[in-house]
């Protein structure tokens, strides 16, 4: 209300017999604090929001140059990507096709397995099995991509080469299998949440009509959970498209369109892989440099498309309550049930419902077994082979002979430096911004566009942040490859996540609590700091910890901003480069022959580090959920 802002002088007409303090000074002081905090939050939020928009504008501005230099059509539809050739060519079509092919096949593998696993966990598994599998799958969502890439390069490509008798296993198929394995935990976990939150009454209503459990799952539960399942698929797809390191390590990276287009053994190159390979050797301001920004902008647009698609799908399907469901929803439900019918038709029409349930449950259980076997194999391989490499010297020594001997101590410490610095930048900025957006602003077109920009960066592939950090911090601001450049890049990468999770957490605090506090005469900041923040803290903390895990495992953003391969010493200042575990693993695996023991050891250390961080997040959330029940 307007009149409140016009009340700078505290009203002193009311005595205070109940509490019995001096009314004037205490009242004036807390109002002063309230105003100062409000201003402070405003400026921090402004800074963070300007940064978010700056990144987007910076990328688009440099990306637009390539359109000026080669023309939009030649850039987007050009079939030749050859920046280093005699006649350099900058056509991104093969890269776009590569990205689409790798992602599509990965999704074709991942979606049935993930949804099967989600149905198994939510509907079929006994309580105890569920309690074991669910956190395990969530934990697997946190495995750093470079660990998958390492595994893929060492085992998967070999297996494909031998099993299918190909000259090389580095291929579209390898990339897709790896991406599928990476996306499965994410999709399963989110889809399982959606299925579990379908109200119990729906199931009971169906079972009470004599339907089998499978009929209930197929006709009632899965259609009811469709919005959540769609969101899960879109999330997994976003993760697959944005993945750089794992793909770069196993797809062979030839910028060709497979011929024929269904040749899964053909090497391909993705948009993200291109950035990862070529960013380090590009000359500042050259056509090639602009072309890479063009690639980043294409990725930005893909992210935008995915974000919009997910928003449309979710809002369409949920629809405003009480109104007729829009046609898109009906079409989706119809399609889903038709697929379900088609899948079960071989046993549905002829055999009894009981037999069809047995067949369906068998297939679903099989998908869980496949998923667990694949993930178990990766973990088992790394643990067994890596355990041999772990020794006191390995953990506390410096690398010798290009990492073939000695230890990884500087890389462990470097990872802590990078993550700690990134968090120190992103956490205060992100939390203050979220508080400002939720508590101090009303829903306006401005806040909506801020939210859209934050969402866009939240879904942007990490390699794009690497490109921004490299171009702006390392080159333009002349930081050089340095610890500080890596910390800022990681900080910017996790900033959108922290803003979003904090916002979600604040929004989950009911407005009635704020009203209760205001009704007692509390100021805005008193209400926020004493009533809103304490219950929101576990959610904020979980978001922060997941960000730490992500930052610790990321290679792409630090590859060209902070990391060096072999260093005997720790950095003595922020302007020196550092070693980092994921980058060390990447170089050991791809460039140093004869270091496989050290690779396994590094992978194991990185894996343990990240899994411990994720485990902490899961435990905090579980404790919080239990507290909420009371």
């Amino acid at each position: 209300m307007k009149k409140e802002q016009a009340a700078p002088v505290p009203f002193q007409g009311f005595g205070r017999p109940g509490v019995g303090t001096d009314p004037t000074s205490a009242g004036a002081k807390r109002q002063l604090v309230d105003r100062i905090v409000g201003k402070l939050l405003f400026f921090v939020a402004l800074f963070a929001i300007v940064t978010v928009f700056f990144i987007i504008v910076f990328l688009i501005r440099d990306g637009y140059q390539i359109v000026l230099e080669t023309g939009l059509w030649n850039f987007l539809a050009g079939q030749d990507w050859n920046p280093a050739g005699q006649n350099p060519a900058y056509g991104v079509l093969p890269l776009i096709v590569g990205t689409i092919l790798v992602t599509a096949l990965a999704m074709a593998i991942a979606i049935p397995l993930s949804i099967g696993s989600a149905v198994f966990i939510a509907e079929i598994a006994a309580a105890r099995t569920k309690a074991a599998i669910k956190p395990a799958i969530e934990l697997l969502a946190g495995i750093p991509s470079v660990v998958y890439g390492f595994f893929g390069l060492i085992l998967l490509t070999d297996w494909i080469r031998i099993a299918f008798d190909q000259p090389s296993g580095s291929s579209w198929l390898a990339g897709s299998i790896l991406l599928a394995v990476m996306a499965i935990p994410t999709i399963t976990s989110v889809a399982e949440d959606a299925i579990s939150s379908v109200p119990r009454e729906f199931r009971e209503g169906s079972l009470a009509l004599g339907a089998t459990r499978w009929q209930t799952v197929r006709n009632v539960v899965v259609p009811g959970a469709l919005p959540g399942i769609s969101a899960a698929i879109i999330l997994g797809m976003g993760r697959a498209i944005g993945e750089t390191m794992a793909v770069l390590m196993v797809t062979g990276n030839a910028a060709v369109i497979p011929d024929p287009i269904t040749d899964v053994f053909s090497p391909v190159r993705t948009l993200t892989g291109t950035l990862g390979i070529e960013m380090g050797e590009v000359a500042f301001g050259s056509t090639h440099y602009h072309a890479l920004f063009g690639v980043a902008v294409v990725l930005l647009f893909i992210t935008l498309a995915i974000n919009s698609a997910s928003r449309i799908v979710i809002s369409r399907i949920q629809g405003p309550q009480g109104t007729a469901r829009p046609t898109a929803h009906r079409a989706l439900v119809a399609a889903a049930s038709r697929i379900a019918h088609a899948v079960s038709a071989p046993f549905g029409g002829v055999v009894s419902p009981r037999t069809s349930q047995r067949c369906a449950f068998f297939l679903i259980s099989l998908s869980v077994v496949i998923v667990l076997a694949a993930l178990g194999m990766i973990l088992f391989g790394i643990v067994v082979n890596g355990a041999g490499a772990i020794s006191w010297e390995f953990l506390t020594g410096s690398p010798r002979d290009l990492g073939r001997a000695g230890g990884i101590f500087p890389a462990i410490v470097g990872t802590f430096y990078l993550v700690g610095g990134g968090l120190a930048i992103a956490l205060p900025l992100g939390i203050a911004t979220a508080i400002y957006l939720i508590e101090y602003t009303a829903e306006t077109p401005l806040t909506r566009s801020i939210r859209a920009a934050v969402d866009l960066l939240n879904g942007t592939p990490s390699i794009v942040f690497g490109l921004f950090g490299f171009a702006f911090l390392v080159i333009f601001l002349n930081f050089g490859i340095s610890l500080i450049a890596g910390q800022i890049t990681l900080g910017l990468m996790i900033l959108p996540t922290i803003i979003r999770t904090t916002e979600e957490s604040l929004r989950s605090i009911p407005g009635s609590l704020r009203e209760g506090s205001y009704a007692l005469g509390a100021t805005k900041w008193q209400t926020i700091s004493r009533v809103v923040l304490p219950p929101a803290l576990p959610g904020i903390l979980t978001g922060a910890i997941l960000s730490i895990g992500r930052a610790a495992g990321e290679t792409a953003p630090i590859m060209f901003t902070a990391a060096i391969f072999s260093s005997r010493y720790l950095p003595s200042s922020l302007s020196e480069p550092v070693m980092a575990l994921p980058y060390h693993l990447f170089v050991l695996t791809t460039s140093v022959p004869g270091a496989s023991v050290q690779s396994y050891g590094t992978a194991l250390v990185l894996l343990l580090l990240v899994l411990v961080i994720y485990l902490a997040a899961i435990l905090i959330r579980r404790r919080y959920n239990r507290a909420k029940v009371m």
Partner: protein, 253 residues
């Protein structure tokens, strides 16, 4: 009416965006009495209540003209402090909304934000407030348990205790029993009658028996206007307006 007036509205109008929610309301709320506001849903009774301690300030689209006087001073005056107003004019909501803290901290929250730090003084305020809200005997052995472990009726009395702890003169209650069972409702009604010895109580209710049982004065509102305001006995036995009579006899609403 020859009672001493504690809250008075003069030609109060309020808009939510374009919706004219309160129209020319002029009413005097007598001190140390229970005043009930009745009327069909959407008639503006909760809005009027929220005007009395500036809770409508929190709704961005609201706009107001006219005056609301508290002990003769305009609470919407440019110099008035909304926070100090709410300290003197407390509010209890439709659904119990205890903070997710323990019972003691819920009651101590108000005094603390107004600068009371002394532990002994807090202890005393908490005990007196819980006694004032007729909850002390039920919770004195479990003060440090979560407030959300209390029953709905107990939670609502905790919210009343929380309001008392700040030392208000007026307590506004927005349908305080609508989420409670009959036994808990009866307890709150007893409490309301008792509170009127020391406080002025304004209660919005859907339940006409409740208004008849617990209040001294009753105002009937319809479509944003205050149709009639008088002693409760007069309103229920011999209403001056046909509209009021139709409502309390159940012919609409």
């Amino acid at each position: 009416m020859d009672e001493f007036t504690v809250i008075e509205t003069r030609d109060l109008n309020l808009w939510y965006g374009k919706k004219h929610a309160l129209i020319d309301i002029s009413v005097k709320i007598p001190k140390n009495r229970v005043t009930a506001l009745i009327g069909p849903s959407g008639c503006g009774k909760s809005t009027l209540l929220r005007c009395c301690n500036r809770m409508n300030d929190l709704i961005d689209s609201s706009r107001i003209t006219g005056n609301v006087l508290f002990n003769g001073e305009d609470i919407y005056d440019g110099h008035a402090d909304a926070y100090a107003v709410r300290e003197k004019i407390g509010m209890v909501f439709q659904k119990p909304n205890p903070f997710p803290k323990n019972i003691y901290e819920n009651v101590a929250y108000g005094p603390r934000i107004h600068g009371v730090g002394d532990k002994r003084k807090l202890d005393r305020i908490v005990e007196e407030s819980l006694k004032g809200a007729a909850l002390w005997d039920e919770v004195k052995d479990r003060l440090y348990e979560p407030a959300l472990s209390l029953s709905g009726g107990q939670q609502q009395r905790l919210c009343i205790a929380r309001t008392l702890a700040v030392g208000p003169e007026v307590i506004l209650m927005d349908e305080p029993c609508s989420a409670l069972d009959p036994i808990a409702t009866a307890k709150i009604e007893d409490l309301i009658i008792r509170l009127a010895r020391d406080y002025t109580v304004v209660i919005v209710t859907h339940n006409m028996q409740q208004a008849a049982r617990a209040s001294d004065y009753t105002g009937f509102m319809y479509l944003g206007r205050l149709v009639e305001f008088d002693k409760t006995t007069k309103i229920f036995e011999d209403p001056g307006e046909e509209l009021t009579e139709n409502y309390i006899t159940g012919r609409f609403g």
